[in-house]
């Protein structure tokens, strides 16, 4: 951890630092409640948490302009919250309710909010990487480089750097000079597989070298280091149309998803994770630097708990989508001949009641 003396912090606006802490505390509280709601069967399907990645989330989102577009992975609750999505609507999506961010159609892995330019969480590993590249293509199609030009940030996990779509996308982005920043959120495990067992180049940011793409590895537990690296990369995208491959290194505190007990970890490892947990570390750092006192920190923690309790209440009180809305949002332009049958419904009426056609021998009964 950098900066025990607080020299870096002295250059920062204390209100901004407290805001980062507030976001991190909110994400922590939200994810712990999400895990609890999962075990109470309020949340179904898969549920992947940002526990342990709070500093990375706050740092990356702090670097984004409001006009920028964010493509996320399926571990994205925290990013939605940090970008300003209403916690109640995020929880409502996890609960599968109509008031959810994606109207209950996506669930935990597919949070979309076009208002805040959150272009989705993606359930298929790396599915978002070509899309983010295409969004950057659209930005370049419409406008030139400028200090305030919008850019795209594309999140991906460490294991995603092994798939073809990642390499194809980086090649295209570098070849066409697209305004995009790819961020490998390296939490050191692809499900249960350590990075070293999956990647022949385990310093993942170096994989950009094949595309002459600059990159950098930063401490994902250091919100300021993450923010500054992301900001520099985004500036490069905005002004020079130079894509970057950034790597943040953190560690998820729990299993791959809520149902994974993470038995592949040793007791020593788990103990080390507790010691390096970015949330209490940042809290301690701010208190040592005089940016926070215990009382204010406790207040922020308690506000986060209250916001999440309100989010749970809102989600719980929200109705699920109605059955009649099953076919809504499948097509932008429905056609008259579209089949909208439910299981067991016929695909065609047996014929007009008027009687048999001219060629028929038997005719209808």
């Amino acid at each position: 951890m950098a900066d025990p003396a607080g020299e870096d912090l002295a250059r920062e606006d204390p209100a901004v630092l407290r805001e980062y802490y507030r976001q991190m505390a909110l994400i922590r509280a939200f994810e712990l409640r999400a895990a609890e709601m999962y075990t109470r069967a309020k949340i179904g399907g898969y549920c992947h948490l940002n526990l342990g990645e709070e500093a990375t989330v706050a740092g990356l989102t702090a670097a984004l302009h409001a006009e920028d577009f964010l493509f996320a992975t399926y571990r994205e609750h925290g990013y939605a919250l940090a970008r300003g999505a209403d916690p109640g609507r995020v929880m409502a999506e996890l609960f599968g309710r109509e008031a959810g961010l994606s109207r209950g159609r996506g669930g935990s892995m597919h949070l979309f909010d076009s208002q805040i330019r959150l272009m989705g969480g993606y359930g298929i590993v790396g599915g978002q990487v070509p899309l983010a590249t295409g969004a950057a293509f659209a930005l370049a199609y419409r406008g030139g480089p400028a200090p305030d030009a919008p850019a795209v940030m594309c999140l991906l996990g460490d294991a995603t750097t092994n798939i073809g779509a990642f390499h194809e996308s980086l090649n295209l982005a570098a070849l066409w000079r697209l305004p995009v920043v790819y961020v490998i959120v390296n939490n050191q495990l692809g499900m249960g597989t350590p990075v070293e067992a999956a990647a022949a180049e385990p310093e993942l940011w170096k994989r950009g070298c094949a595309y002459r793409m600059p990159g950098q590895r930063v401490d994902g537990n250091d919100v300021l280091a993450v923010r500054d690296a992301a900001r520099a990369a985004l500036d490069c995208a905005r002004m020079e149309r130079q894509p970057t491959l950034l790597e943040t290194v953190s560690y998820r505190l729990r299993g791959h998803s809520v149902v994974d007990p993470a038995r592949y970890r040793t007791a020593e490892e788990t103990e080390r994770l507790r010691r390096e947990d970015p949330l209490p570390a940042f809290r301690h750092r701010l208190i040592t630097a005089g940016v926070l006192d215990e009382e204010t920190a406790a207040e922020i923690d308690s506000e986060a708990d209250m916001a999440v309790a309100a989010a749970v209440d809102f989600a719980d009180a929200s109705p699920p989508p109605e059955g009649a809305a099953l076919f809504d949002h499948v097509y932008a332009t429905p056609a008259a001949s579209m089949y909208r049958g439910l299981p067991g419904d016929p695909v065609a009426a047996p014929g007009p009641a008027a009687g048999p056609g001219p060629g028929s021998v038997g005719g209808p009964a």
Binding site: R105, A335, S337, A349
Partner: protein, 326 residues
């Protein structure tokens, strides 16, 4: 009306849509400098420049995903996948992203894109380059799959696809590119999801799409000499599927044969036969028959290739058998 080739109709439509809408752009392998593997995009790079006509490296998953991402931002990409066989490399992007983003986002996003891609055998391109994989896509809710058989539809359905706000796959056919036919002049946008009666008839309904519809029409015209009146239906759209036009025809003729270039099992013919079983069961005077490709990886050797693909002889034989059956 002007008589032009299917290839020319596609080319002219792409050009007209590029002129009409600044958001339309073309993207794919060898579409610019090389002018397209089948020359559909000839001259368009020179006229519109690399911003609107974008050559890509070989990376179907990458550039198809790029097009989907651009469509999410409101552009209208027209992707060329050199042949439908190569779409297998992009199928995750097509099925898991293009088809689902509108639904997954609760209607916040849409994907107004087109994938043009030719399928079909008969060119001695052997097993990996001769497939008819359109049913893979026709199976998936969220996609639309169009299959023009005529030159007029090559124009009308492609224009409709480009102007549609959903992801649309436009199935072209290697064997149709050089066919010629009448094409309406000026603006011509077909309706998506409507089958066409290519030739009315009383005795039997023959259903096909793409190349199979063209062969079926040819067979039906010849059968007129034998006083057999076959009604030919061109599906034009595999998703959505115009079941009512098919059923209405069979309620009139009481017999049906489905012709398809893809493999028989689980194919379009199975879907049509099941539809007829529900929508015209009481009117049927004979079992619905299918004429489809033999279930082998298509061989290179010409006699084997010819043996595997449905042709006019097989269609004629099955029509006669169906008329004789009671």
């Amino acid at each position: 009306m002007t008589v032009i080739s299917y290839r020319q109709a596609l080319h002219d439509t792409l050009r007209a849509e590029l002129l009409r809408d600044e958001n339309v752009f073309l993207i794919g392998e060898e579409i610019g400098v090389f002018e397209g593997s089948y020359k559909i995009t000839a001259g368009l790079l020179a006229e519109f420049g690399p911003r609107r006509v974008r050559d890509t490296p070989i990376c179907e998953e990458g550039f198809t995903g790029v097009a989907i991402g651009a469509a999410m931002m409101g552009l209208r990409p027209v992707v060329e996948i050199m042949t439908i066989n190569f779409s297998l490399l992009a199928i995750d992007q097509i099925v898991n992203n293009a088809a689902k983003l509108r639904s997954l986002s609760g209607g916040q996003l849409s994907v107004p894109m087109v994938i043009r891609t030719p399928g079909g055998g008969g060119q001695q391109l052997s097993a990996t380059h001769s497939q008819n994989l359109e049913v893979f896509y026709a199976h998936v809710p969220g996609l639309k799959v169009l299959a023009p058989a005529t030159c007029a539809d090559a124009k009308g359905l492609l224009a409709a696809a480009i102007r549609d706000d959903d992801p649309v796959i436009v199935l072209e056919n290697l064997a149709l590119y050089n066919t010629k036919g009448e094409v309406p002049d000026g603006e011509h946008v077909a309706e998506i999801g409507r089958a066409a009666v290519l030739k009315p008839g009383r005795d039997i309904t023959v259903v096909g799409y793409s190349r199979a519809a063209v062969i079926a029409l040819d067979v039906a015209r010849r059968l007129e000499d034998d006083a057999i009146s076959a009604e030919v239906i061109d599906l034009r759209s595999l998703r959505p599927l115009d079941r009512e036009t098919v059923c209405a025809s069979v309620r009139k003729t009481s017999r049906a044969v489905v012709v398809e270039d893809d493999w028989l099992s689980y194919g379009t013919g199975a879907e049509i036969a099941a539809t007829i079983a529900e929508g015209a069961f009481d009117y049927l005077d004979a079992p619905v028959r299918r004429v489809a490709a033999a279930e082998v990886p298509l061989p290179y050797a010409k006699p084997l290739e010819l043996a595997a693909l449905p042709d006019a002889g097989a269609i004629t034989r099955v029509i006669r058998q169906t008329l004789e059956g009671n």
